[in-house]
């Protein structure tokens, strides 16, 4: 249930996910909302609402849109329809199975639709700010048995995601990063140096805010682990909490759950060093490295 939003059938995360995927498929084809609307004999406004997850999905519309977007593989269409039908049922917090590319893709879709991404990272530098070499070391560290080719594929996939911060209409990233993540020499000292330099550069972007949570802050509300909160510009869309695990990812959109995380995030941001001081600390860490 999306509490307080049940009246009028407000969006659930899954609807937003399905909607976001429809948006991506459309833009991949270089189509406007108006062109898509004509294909399903609907208004541009309806496409807008479908892509925002603000209305339920009819099979007919989904099939017509997928055809327009050149998704023709019967299995793919069937899977998409199943997802869209499931999304019509409210009362949901989900757990995307263990197929990494699938859930990762959905997160990327949601991330692109967000206006503000707030995240706490305790173990490593936030994905959107990782350097190529650092990212490679993270992927290798997580998948020791994989072929170089597979590692390369994953690195490319994740690097492609980083363009998000520099495109027009880019969301704002407001990240709290634990000091531990900045001290751990992922990929070795040189790679870490490059990564810290990259972070200093990133703080110069007008849509990136970075706050270091120093060891000295002691206990804090996110000691259980990393999480992200996605916020969407549309007033009706709820915030979504994203938790990534080894084999799955969880999305929370129940107001009660989300607010626990928002509360923790507010506390973290107050405890963490302010953005200006964070840059000084990063430079200090570079000097010590």
């Amino acid at each position: 249930m999306t509490e307080g939003r049940a009246v009028g059938g407000g969006p659930t995360v899954q609807r937003m996910l399905v909607g976001a995927q429809l948006r991506r498929l459309r833009t991949d084809q270089g189509l406007t909302r108006d062109q898509a609307a004509q294909a399903i004999r609907a208004s541009e406004w309806k496409i807008h609402r479908l892509e925002n997850g603000q209305v339920g999905f009819k099979d007919r519309d989904v099939i017509d849109l997928l055809r327009l977007y050149q998704v023709t593989d019967p299995t793919e269409v069937a899977e998409f329809l199943a997802l869209a039908r499931e999304a019509n049922t409210p009362g949901w917090w989900h757990h995307y199975g263990d197929v990494l590319p699938a859930w990762f893709r959905t997160y990327v879709d949601l991330e692109q639709a967000a206006s503000l991404i707030r995240s706490y990272e305790g173990q490593y530098v936030p994905g959107l700010l990782q350097t190529d070499a650092y990212l490679r070391a993270v992927v290798q560290g997580a998948h020791l048995a994989e072929s170089a080719e597979e590692v390369g594929r994953r690195v490319r996939l994740r690097l492609a995601r980083q363009t998000l911060l520099t495109v027009e209409g880019a969301p704002r990233l407001w990240a709290v990063v634990d000091e531990a993540a900045l001290r751990r020499p992922v990929g070795g000292r040189l790679v870490l140096r490059g990564q810290l330099e990259r972070l200093v550069e990133a703080t110069k972007l007008s849509n990136v805010t970075l706050q270091v949570l120093p060891f000295a802050a002691g206990a804090h509300p996110a000691m259980v682990g990393a999480f992200s909160i996605l916020r969407f510009a549309d007033r009706e869309l709820p915030d979504v909490v994203y938790l990534e695990h080894l084999t799955s990812a969880i999305y929370l959109d129940r107001r009660h759950d989300v607010e626990r995380y928002l509360d923790a995030m507010e506390q973290l941001c107050v405890q963490a060093e302010p953005p200006a001081r964070t840059v000084e600390l990063l430079n200090q860490m570079l000097d010590e490295l």
């Binding site: 607010e259 941001c269 107050v270």
Partner: protein
């Protein structure tokens, strides 16, 4: 400058900044805040319009100050949570070199302001407007504000959170004394004075005012409404620009101004 590792955000206690955020359709509020906001709307259904009108008043004031008064330095005291149309956005759209310092005593407000508003010509500081010397002496204020040139002091919907025993006119006077002639002050302030167009008896208005004040006793800052004469007192040492202290909706209205005046007084004065 350093963070305060012992500072906390208490989302269980209703907070005026987050109540205001809720009334403006923001998403940075919690159940305790929404509960009070909904009670406020039950007592005074116009509250949502009044806060929107207050944002519109702020926009018109900042435009007036940059365009017509030529002010390039702003101190926004009790700035609240960032929203659409923040002071530096309005001012820098008119004058890209405008500099703005946001001041608030709420830790969550300050972290949001630092993260979302701070830039080359803007800063956000954690200080309490009841301590003017600390605000004025803050290093980041010193970096951005040149006190030899006119400064605009904005006190929007904040002085009604300062009770009489803390001498709000005295606080404003201490800021005034630090400003050079030609500086400006703008205030907006809750009132229970009845505007002509509100069809309310004095008793009903007084009851509404009392209930709103009682409701804010539940929050981190109690609220006190004031009549026009008391709002005018804040402008001691300033020459009020036309049309003086009036309902905010009637202060130099533009096309977007609300047609239903009332709720807040507002004005702009020029330091003698």
């Amino acid at each position: 400058m350093a963070s305060d590792w012992t500072a906390t955000v208490n989302t269980d206690v209703p907070n005026p900044a987050r109540i205001y955020d809720y009334l403006l359709d923001g998403k940075d509020n919690f159940p305790a805040d929404r509960d009070v906001a909904e009670q406020l709307l039950a007592i005074a259904p116009v509250a949502r319009d009044v806060v929107e009108d207050n944002r519109a008043f702020l926009r018109r004031v900042v435009r007036f100050l940059t365009r017509e008064a030529g002010v390039r330095q702003f101190i926004d005291l009790g700035s609240g949570l960032p929203t659409r149309g923040n002071v530096h956005e309005i001012a820098q759209a008119e004058a890209p070199d405008a500099r703005v310092v946001y001041v608030d005593n709420d830790a969550m407000v300050v972290t949001h302001s630092r993260a979302l508003l701070a830039g080359d010509n803007t800063a956000a500081i954690h200080a309490d407007l009841r301590e003017p010397e600390r605000v004025l002496g803050h290093p980041e204020v010193g970096e951005l504000i040149d006190f030899d040139r006119p400064v605009a002091l904005l006190l929007m919907a904040i002085l009604h959170f300062i009770p009489d025993d803390e001498d709000p006119p005295g606080i404003v006077a201490r800021f005034r004394d630090a400003l050079p002639a030609g500086s400006y002050l703008s205030v907006s302030h809750g009132t229970r004075d009845i505007p002509e167009r509100w069809d309310l008896s004095p008793e009903a208005m007084a009851e509404m005012g009392t209930k709103v004040e009682q409701l804010y006793q539940l929050t981190t800052a109690s609220l006190v409404t004031r009549p026009r004469a008391q709002v005018e007192r804040f402008f001691d040492g300033f020459d009020l620009v036309e049309p003086g202290v009036v309902e905010i909706q009637r202060w130099r209205p533009d096309d977007q101004a609300s047609i239903l005046p009332g709720g807040f007084y507002g004005g702009v004065g020029r330091r003698r």
